[in-house]
Symmetry: C2
């Protein structure tokens, strides 16, 4: 497990400045000053190599690649050198604030291998911008987002063989950021650990792209105004597992999260939600709830909005949608499709919603409705390099 | 770091059945079947002993004793043997659900050394009951609460010298329970780790029992209906640090958490909240918000309610209190005292609240008002064994 080398930043790295999601579009210009740098990267290669898994029936996120990226921070010493090293357990102080007070956040992104054998990331700066926002909310230190993308690119380069040779599989990338304050006061951590692990994943739809069934009930609320629903902080997710079990108890696969007395539709499981319908005014409209602080600002969500607005074929709207709106539209035959969006699945059609004891059936021609199919194709074409796009960043 | 011994459960352990907080008062009678057992405890004593700290100016929760308790659980193998072993870092899989999805919870309790040199716990079964409830909400496995108290007693026995010889200091006990699922799916964990660490703490009021100042604003909400506000899950706390910083920015020490359009008063920092006043009907009343799912069911809160109801000297009420109620009462001179309650401080008087740009001054004769002082004395008399009570459990 030895072979420690300092490796300079690759000179031919594609500049993120040229991508569609320029770092300068987000606020923290100052964070470059005190951040870790890819130029300081220390790489310790693993002497052992795990066998690659058969992706056909692999459960999501259960197998990890040979290496990981770790970067430590202390209030006294600032950011330390980033390290790529053999994948292994973390040694954490038992008082770490990540484990007591949920001072933690994560991101989810993927590396895709195209038919041209090139490996691409999809809009990584959007993940970095969201991660920086989560870090601010969690009182974790700022970092240079472009430097982190570069470190992640280097990690994927080291484990390049782990990016599946398949246009229905990918290498899932999980940046994680923990408060490792070694004391029990509830406070801004004086120690932190940012790390990135990699997990090869098969198609989300390997077992068949069946539309999902949802349990819609206001008994559990995912997020609320003044909370952390728009950040990828761990507490949003752990609190959801109990509701997910109740959904399964009622014969549904996932939770449709509602909010407020009027039962606004917010998210689906861990996905953003889209409704394609003829709206109250009879306009053909793709609608998704607005980013009002309750909703996770999904990268796939944003990409779907941008793509469909570019098409200009129907109205695209960020707006509130209530269960009453949906029920009325179903009754009047105005609903065309409903689907969730996320990094794991791209899009996931909804087939049925159990709400107030009634099964609401959502139209789903041939299991995978037309708009969802088209979005799936356009997005994966970009991700796997079949379509040129400045949303792709070469590894 | 060797010396591994299996130690049978101490025969003369005081039965929890005799305490005021009988285990049978809470629901899960079934959880004894599959739980770990103190009889299986394996003790590995540390060969080194850290120096005890000077408690005078010690920051809360920064120093830990020589040993810790760890108990592992897997879905396949159930609960493993409990271990008392040298305090040290935990080795955790980097995909552990505790670190990604906030599948984590904790408890806070204390061991007190009396003038009689006996060491006591204060109502430990109440902590265990709350911990079991948090575990259910976090989808972590059930355990036998009486067995865990016994394991904790044994841990404190092993580190008995760490219980300070002082009636203004104590040994803080931090049970922690983590999901250690080694995969990235958001689901009920198949691995878990329960551990307990000990930290000697000085008087909360060593720097003088100054009344705290609070920032009351509805910008940040601690908890909401359908969430986890009544459980001691980590996500409740990490999300609060940002608001705490804003409170400090406005020249206040802690956050007074509001809820709803009518700005209900819910909690103070990490404490429950009490208002001692003449209510709208002119009745002398001790009031605290009800346990409606938003409020943490504090052990000190419950003890204060039980004590004052036993006194029978004034009305004791769990009721909603809004900022308008408080402002009106202050204007009319009906407020006697306001204080937070918690394990760390017992009671902590409130001196000032910044609300909608206005400083509300709460009466605070001699810094520590009369009812708060009396409660502080009665509770610490029990905790340190100066008053006999079935709330005390001998270690």
């Amino acid at each position: 497990m030895a072979s420690v080398t300092a490796v300079p930043s690759s000179a031919n790295a594609p500049s993120l400045k040229g991508s569609g999601d320029d770092v300068s579009t987000s606020k923290g210009m100052e964070d470059s000053i005190h951040s870790f740098k890819v130029a300081d990267l220390v790489i310790e290669l693993s002497q052992t190599h795990k066998a690659k898994p058969d992706l056909t029936n692999l459960v999501f996120g259960t197998v990890f690649s040979d290496h990981m990226l770790t970067i430590e921070w202390t209030n006294a010493g600032g950011w330390q050198k980033p390290h790529i090293k053999p994948f292994g357990n973390l040694s954490l102080h038992p008082a770490s604030s990540a484990m007591h007070y949920g001072v933690q956040l994560f991101e989810g992104m993927k590396a895709y291998r195209g038919a041209d054998d090139k490996v691409r990331l999809f809009r990584p700066m959007l993940n970095m911008n969201r991660m920086a926002k989560s870090a601010e909310r969690a009182c974790l230190p700022a970092f240079d987002r472009a430097e982190l993308v570069e470190c992640i690119r280097r990690l994927v380069q080291v484990d390049l063989e782990w990016v599946p040779q398949s246009d229905s599989a990918s290498l899932y990338i999980r940046p994680t950021f923990l408060g490792t304050e070694r004391s029990l006061g509830v406070k801004k951590p004086s120690h932190a650990l940012l790390y990135v692990i990699l997990s090869p994943v098969g198609s989300f739809f390997s077992t068949g792209a069946k539309p999902v069934s949802l349990w819609a009930d206001s008994k559990y609320i995912r997020a609320w105004r003044g909370g952390t629903g728009d950040c990828k902080m761990g507490g949003n997710y752990g609190a959801s597992i109990y509701a997910q079990h109740e959904a399964v108890h009622y014969g549904c696969q996932q939770v449709l999260w509602l909010y407020g007395d009027d039962h606004q539709i917010t998210e689906v499981g861990t996905m953003n939600m889209f409704l394609f319908w003829n709206n109250e005014k009879g306009e053909e409209e793709l609608a998704t709830p607005p980013l009002d602080g309750l909703i996770l600002p999904g990268i796939t969500r944003q990409s779907i909005l941008e793509l469909t607005r570019k098409w200009g074929e129907f109205k695209v709207c960020e707006r509130y949608l209530t269960m009453a709106d949906l029920r009325c539209a179903l009754k009047e035959g105005r609903v065309k499709e409903m689907f969730g969006s996320g990094t794991a699945c791209v899009v996931s059609p909804v087939g049925r919603i159990l709400y107030q004891g009634e099964n609401l059936h959502i139209p789903c021609q041939e299991d995978f409705p037309q708009l969802a199919s088209r979005l799936m194709k356009e997005l994966t074409d970009i991700q796997y390099g079949r379509t040129q796009s400045d949303w792709s960043v070469l590894v």
